[in-house]
Symmetry: C2
Subunit: 188 residues, 2 copies
Amino acid sequence: MEISPRVQSFVFHFGEMGSRWGFNRTVGQMYALLVVTERPLSATELAETLNISRGNVSMGMKELQSWRLVQVSHIPGDRKEYYRVTGSIWDMANTIFEERKKREVDPTLSLLRDNLLEEPKDKEEAFAFEKMQEIHDLLEMLTQWSGELQRLSPEKLSTLMKLGAGVSKMLSMKDQLFTKNSQPTSDS
Amino acid sequence: MEISPRVQSFVFHFGEMGSRWGFNRTVGQMYALLVVTERPLSATELAETLNISRGNVSMGMKELQSWRLVQVSHIPGDRKEYYRVTGSIWDMANTIFEERKKREVDPTLSLLRDNLLEEPKDKEEAFAFEKMQEIHDLLEMLTQWSGELQRLSPEKLSTLMKLGAGVSKMLSMKDQLFTKNSQPTSDS
DNA sequence: TTAAACTTTCAGAAATTTCTGAAACATGTA
DNA sequence: TACATGTTTCAGAAATTTCTGAAAGTTTAA
């Protein structure tokens, strides 16, 4: 399969950047190519288009499937496996966030929780524990919040984003608002 | 300088994780150690405590300074340079977000902008462009939003987070609210 | 100017990650 | 069974990243 220069530049760029987002260059390229191609692609097509080995594609697809970013599909009368991305761009972003959290934040959170169970032994440790507690709280906040955002529909999220600086204004009116309607927030 | 086992486990863990957050293992360790230590540390102390070379510390400090996560400070009558973290844990998270955005999102955004200037040549390219446009819009949204959040004070942000599921409820009342008070949102 | 005390640089060693390609494996068909 | 058409695995090659440590650089003081 040949691809146009501008699409190619995107695919390659995504490869370079992809490594920052948790997968390596070729996996990034494979994913980008699948995103911008309407029809599902076979492993061989991926390998030939990107000039990478067949084996590498196999491993890459396995990884992308483990991230739930790619699905296998079949074409009637064809024994090959064809790959395509799952869901929308929005789903992609959501999934990447979620998976990264699982791999990067959660382990830190549980380590901090464990470490903070006991009491600090001296002044130095007390200071360290304070900082670790702060990081723990921050990460927990982020975790909780990202959960909320993921439950929000894209439309609502878009509204929230467009609101922009208005968020601040809105917050200052929040108490007033919720008191008026006597609707408590659903705190955990 | 010797550090307690639990603090050490945090420092090492942060090293492993740090590589995910944009810096390598030893830089992550150096930063973690500075975070949990109250007094500023010299390069030699860092090197000895972490068992890494003096040269590596020098490079690491340069990098952390370029991230604006670490500052140099001096002790009167001492020619050594001492390092300490800048700002609070909250500032740290903010800075890391901002720097990562600069390095990871912005280049993609400008590549997409450039690529999308011209018209697609055929049906395949049209589909690809559509997807690229969606990614572009998503990234731009994130960019705009993260800007907003950064301008928000930690207290307000905390309120917003605690609000949790309430955000959704609040949004549905937003129009009503702003109409009542005839206060338009400051859209860009 | 020399020396002492410190920092930075960078070539190349070491460690780690990624990728290839051949062999093993799987599955359907004749 | 033998074969055709696929996929997966994995040892080790290749590429990349990180780290060391010795040499060069900087600054202050006498």
